[in-house]
Symmetry: C2
Subunit: 296 residues, 2 copies
């Protein structure tokens, strides 16, 4: 499968999995952010991991779409006035601007359970044991041990930076930054890759390799995002940029500077290629994703 085929498959499936029913406004609000134009990176990773380990990628489609719903949930709540207070996302108005704050909170809440419900409803063929494994992976990544842990520490680091300019020599900062990136970003990547691999009956060693791959790719992706936040434009990115720098926020570039950030990014991408090569894993799709994130 090619990237574009996956994207079309995912977009069609999301549309099918999310019918609008009463009360319409909440289902419309949920669907609005999930269907914003996007790269569908996480669901693509899930399908491709499944295929790469010998599974039928179609078996992973409900799980892949559920992870995109979960991702949308994090965006809706992160954009709220009490969090990042963002008006634009993927070039469109954010959920609370369109539907109001109360509905945006509820749409996010609803997605958090609609996502795993979608898996249970449309993946009965996987059997109950595998479904329970997928649920466990989902809860671990979606909750206070996963993305929410990252978001909480991110908010706290922001408060720190407002109270005082960062001391770049503070030896705790690299650890804090790594914690934020691991949980805010890499955890969803690992969820996508691991569930795809689990559906394909990957063994423990393979799960370990793909988890490491997801960790490196997640951090690389976040470094690239931090670099682009400083060097790109609204038109290219579809969201308000430079806010992090303005707020004096702890980011990869604010801590290490753009040059070292770019070096580290490319090293992480090399490590991802090594994992694929050392395990004889062939994937045009992952190669394409890795090459896209690289910044020369």
């Amino acid at each position: 499968m090619k990237m574009n085929d996956y994207t079309e498959l995912i977009n069609n499936a999301i549309n099918d999995f999310m019918p609008i029913s009463y009360p319409n406004k909440i289902f419309k609000a949920m669907k609005y952010t999930v269907t914003l134009p996007g790269k569908r990176l996480r669901p693509i990773m899930c399908l491709e991991a499944c295929r790469m380990f010998g599974g039928n990628y179609k078996d992973a489609l409900p799980t892949a779409c559920a992870i995109e719903m979960l991702h949308a949930q994090t965006l809706i709540h992160d954009d709220l006035p009490c969090m990042d207070n963002d008006m634009y996302r993927r070039g469109q108005l954010t959920n609370h601007i369109v539907f109001g704050e109360a509905h945006a909170v509820l749409a996010g809440d609803a997605l958090l359970t609609f996502a795993p419900q979608t898996i249970l409803k449309h993946s009965k063929n996987l059997g109950t044991e595998k479904l329970i494994k997928i649920m466990e992976e989902y809860f671990q990544a979606a909750g206070a041990y996963g993305v929410i842990a990252g978001q909480v520490v991110d908010i706290e680091s922001e408060k720190m930076s407002q109270a005082a300019a960062f001391d770049k020599d503070d030896e705790q900062l690299p650890e804090i930054l790594n914690y934020i990136h691991t949980h805010k970003t890499a955890d969803l990547f690992k969820l996508a890759l691991r569930t795809g691999a689990i559906i394909a009956d990957a063994n423990e060693q393979q799960l370990k390799e793909i988890t490491e791959f997801g960790q490196y790719l997640g951090i690389a992706f976040q470094i690239a995002d931090d670099i682009l936040d400083e060097t790109s434009t609204f038109e290219e990115m579809g969201k308000t940029l430079g806010k992090d720098k303005e707020a004096g926020k702890l980011t990869y570039t604010s801590l290490y500077g753009i040059e070292k950030s770019r070096e580290d990014l490319n090293k992480l991408i090399d490590k991802c290629f090594d994992i694929l090569n050392n395990n004889n894993l062939k994937s045009e799709v992952f190669e394409k994703i890795l090459n896209k994130i690289r910044i020369k």
Copy 2:
């Protein structure tokens, strides 16, 4: 088992199931609202339904506690400034007043996945098939087909009432009010009763009866709440009262008046007793709950 024994068991189990780990503030925020002093009605219903249908109530303990966590999640988000904007809950400050709005949003989010994660972690003895059934019940009640549907229509009815005083002859109003109460309140009661019954291997007919029981009890509970909102005090209820009336909100008492509300409440309680008697179901605990809700 007596009510007080159940309450103690539940409070101890919640404490065990919710250890504080890093990042501490989010786990503390989650636990704060779950452990506010409360009647633990929903988890008690879950344990008692399990016992009443011949199961071991201890098998239902993780599910019962998870439903209390879900209930706390709905309270945290309902109390937010963009929703009901409440400062007090169960006589204590609300979550966002204590922990800030961002953390309250995230604590609610975290509880939505922590609750079913608790079930999977501590109920492995139930087997994967039964666990999947419980997950399905949980997602249905927690999401846009359940409590959130009720909350959304409640918000919309509030906007309606702000735009114009209710026309009490509007024939849609009883239906809308019933929809709100069914989903906002009865859905969690039914979740508690049904999961307890499922754990006890209740058959389809028994599930049907206990669902009907939960529907009547849920509406009765909500009518009692509406009556007390008009006739009780802050000290008795632990939350700000009279707000609904002040806001001209659609409630059972605003639509039907206190006298008819009380009559309907007591009729529903009689129906609940009928279900217990007709099915030869003996439960001191349910009898006690029903008699407590009755208003003479």
